[in-house]
Subunit: 531 residues, 2 copies
């Protein structure tokens, strides 16, 4: 019986595996298409790598070239494989690191060889061993220094590699200088091919990447805020589907911002190695982009908190929310407009419109102000349905009676009871059946219920939080504008002209697109000019 | 005159440079000490690398060994430099990638050589060139596949490298098999040394690192929340210094959590390559740690928003806040306690106490409830000082008159005026003198003022937001507990015993320490046993 069961299991397992193998080519093909469609530059980059490898292979394949260089040609191949990266900045960074590391290591190795050569064979071996140990330890330790780790990590690895190879092989080989010489040439050839490919043939600039990602981040935040507020005031009963879709949009909008720290820093670092490919500015302030990224992340945290208001267990009833729909939506729209104007200003490398903080935003804020002021009824609980749940603020003057009525109504009392008993129940269950999965699924809502029921007073609090966070975004918008202006100032953006304003409206409605690669290609001419 | 000026400038520049050079050794020494003090394992790792390099150098330096292997020994050196990483998981990951890449590339290269050998010399060269181009492009393209990028990026690089070296050199050399054979041996020796060093001699486990960082993150959040609430209710007039210090603490607490995404994922990936070094569990669920990290990040966003409440321009007066000090502080303390209990449960690999959500938390929430209910006076504005600024909630019943009085008082009206005129002023200034730095410094407070004055209604809103966010942390605590429990279940944590509870109090007061390295060393025996 057990064997039979096992047989069936094995057959099933086999079938699943077979299915996986059968579908593997299709999966591969689909992934390939997706990866290519996401960013067509990837295909170009792959072809570039293939071409570069073929080029350095010619050192082997063509007779006259091989005679000059010989087996050292393998170093050219190695250099191309390791150094040629997706963006020009990354390639330059690695190439220069490799060059620097090789030269330094070579010098040090020859110095050590010079010292070791004057002694006997055995002592020389010991000396080399000690040097290898010492230099290896020190170089590895240096890789932990923050500055070196950030800029020269790869250089130190190459230094270590080259130093060891030269020092150790010098013990057995006599004409080390010749070897080093040849090797240096071939590495230079490899680096040359890499630089040629990455700088002159369809180059991808880390700087452009950073620039475009900043634009996309601003647009994402704009969309997130608008979607967030729309969902908050959206009537669930109309369409459940649409809501979850907008939830996705909110999440997508701010997620790219939250996770951008390390990418931004890497791109800025690589971009700082790139030759300037813009004619009208002395230097492009990549660090300012990183700083702006930091400010945007902080803006993003507020949006996350705003999104959190949509998902809390304690919700202000929709009938109440609807009263504030108009001003809130308008504030959100204005903030989002301002963000999109900032995005466009960065995209087109021009200063942003002086009307970026329009009267509309100001008016919307005042309307929100008025709306809250004009609804004291809400907080006083005169509405019958809400009487028991709204902030019981009428208590002092008019609400004393009502409060008593509320207490007597039993509803709230019983809910407190449920609450305490739920806690007790939950705790007993938890202690006795701690490890059962199914139970926990039941327990979670109860625990949340504790939070809900014990905070029945606070049905108006979430809206207050929502409004407060919305105002917070306006305050943070201020800082974002400051940073973008600073960026525009350092990067010598064009002056704002009123004609530029026209494409603004268009961009708001346009769907968020991938950064266009022709921007990058346009830069090609200016770079080849600069070379 | 101009020359003189330039001379002076140059001298100054020279002096600064000289000073920098003079202080360079001191700076180096200080950085070295700091880097070592931060994590003494770094020193051990550096010595390990030095030792490994010396070991593989012996292949060259000792005559009998060199005769067996010859110049191919350089591949062992190369392997050690490239593969030996800080943690065992990273080394294993790289070593296995290197091995896999080499073997696959070797097989493919021999296959291609087999095909190419049957043809003429010129056709053979073309064939090899085409193969190099094709394989190079395809392999590079595959590096963009998310799954391959995540797990096998280094393997593909090595595959490409080895494939090219073998294919290309096979064109000139006849006994490629012999070369490949020798090279494989030396690479195996290099990998062997690396594995020995990283697994058996003072190993650092990525898994331990992830485990400890999770504990630290929980503790950091706990400290952040408590510090945040304390600062919110802190009387500024007593001590300005202390406040900014606590601000630092808040920031430090959540910063580590927010930026942890990529580190967590890398560590989990590396940890998944490590042999299990714990005897009582089938497999350690590293992905669950990543998931918990994600939940903690979301918890962190709420803490950031809470921290934001401390920094907004619109502030609830301290005299009002003080009324809610007690319940809020208690809620925060209970949340923080629960987080620390979770941290301790993970640290000691035991389930968390069933009383983790104590009655205290529940009571504190109810007290907060009561406190807000018992202060309707606040929101009604009966206090003379606050009358004009609090949510004008008495409007409907009792406040109508007061509202009129307020309107007539002129104070609020005039503030609205200032507001509008400030906006106008700001905009004119901005349009005309857009690029002057000094101006902007003046402009920012005015812009912020727009937000403040136009939202004078909302002095009570920030507190509502604060309270709401505090409640939100309680709700999210729920999810965190769930994830930790799930982790405990999959990782087979010990049952909770009441004796364990005693060390809890101790840990709360103890300053946050670095993860202890002796934990790692203790694991040594169990691993060597498993090998």
């Amino acid at each position: 019986m057990g064997d039979n069961h096992q047989n069936i299991l094995m057959k099933k397992h086999l079938q699943v595996t077979m299915n996986k193998i059968k579908h593997f080519p299709i999966l591969c093909w689909k992934t390939s298409k997706k990866v290519g469609a996401e960013d067509p530059r990837r295909i170009i980059h792959s072809l570039k790598v293939g071409l570069s490898l073929t080029l350095v292979s010619l050192l082997y394949l063509i007779q006259p070239l091989f005679q000059g260089i010989g087996n050292n040609a393998l170093w050219a191949v190695m250099t191309v494989v390791v150094v040629l990266e997706f963006t020009a900045g990354a390639t330059l960074c690695k190439g220069l690191n490799r060059g620097l590391g090789t030269v330094l290591a070579g010098s040090l190795a020859f110095f050590i060889e010079g010292v070791a050569n004057r002694t006997g064979k055995v002592f020389r071996a010991c000396f080399i061993g000690a040097a290898v140990f010492l230099i290896g330890s020190v170089a590895t330790y240096m890789r932990f220094f923050p500055k070196i780790k950030k800029n020269y990590d790869y250089g130190v690895v190459i230094f270590l590699l080259t130093f060891n190879l030269i020092t150790v092989s010098s013990y057995r080989v006599d004409n080390v200088l010749k070897i080093a010489h040849d090797r240096f040439y071939t590495i230079a050839i490899g680096c040359g091919v890499c630089l040629l490919m990455s700088l002159l043939i369809f180059p991808n600039w880390s700087g452009e990447e950073l620039h475009n990602s900043t634009v996309l981040k601003l647009e994402g935040l704009a969309k997130s805020i608008e979607a967030c507020v729309n969902e908050y005031f959206f009537d669930t009963e109309i369409d459940e589907n649409k809501e979850s879709c907008s939830g996705d949009q909110i999440y997508k909008g701010y997620k790219a911002v939250l996770d951008s720290k390390s990418t931004d820093e890497t791109l800025a670092l690589q971009a700082s190695w790139e030759p300037r490919h813009s004619s009208h500015c002395y230097r492009i302030p990549w660090q300012q982009y990183v700083k702006l990224g930091g400010v945007l992340r902080h803006f993003g945290y507020t949006v996350v908190a705003l999104h959190g208001c949509l998902q809390t267990e304690i919700q202000t009833p929709r009938s109440v929310r609807i009263l504030f729909k108009d001003p809130c939506t308008r504030v959100a729209r204005e903030v989002s407009k301002a963000l999109i104007e900032l995005a466009n200003s960065i995209r087109n490398r021009r200063h942003c419109s002086p009307e970026i903080l329009s009267d509309h935003l100001h008016e919307a804020l005042q309307d929100l102000n008025k709306a809250i002021k004009s609804q004291p009824r809400l907080f006083l609980g005169s509405n019958k349905n809400q009487s028991r749940n709204m902030l019981a603020l009428a208590a002092a003057e008019a609400g004393q009676k009502q409060k008593e009525k509320k207490r007597q109504s039993g509803v709230s009392l019983s809910s407190v009871k449920t609450d305490s008993s739920a806690l007790m129940e939950w705790k007993t269950k938890r202690a006795s059946e701690q490890s059962r999965e199914a139970e926990r699924k039941v327990l979670r809502p109860q625990l949340s219920k504790i939070a809900i029921t014990s905070l029945e007073f606070s049905e108006a609090l979430p809206f207050a939080a929502f409004a407060s966070l919305l105002v917070e975004t306006v305050a943070k918008l201020d800082i974002v504008i400051d940073e973008v202006e600073e960026l525009g100032r350092i990067a010598c953006f064009k002056e704002f002209k009123h004609g530029d304003d026209d494409d603004k409206e268009e961009h708001i409605t346009v769907k968020c697109e991938k950064p266009k690669i022709n921007v990058t290609q346009n830069q090609l001419s200016s770079v080849s000019g600069a070379e």
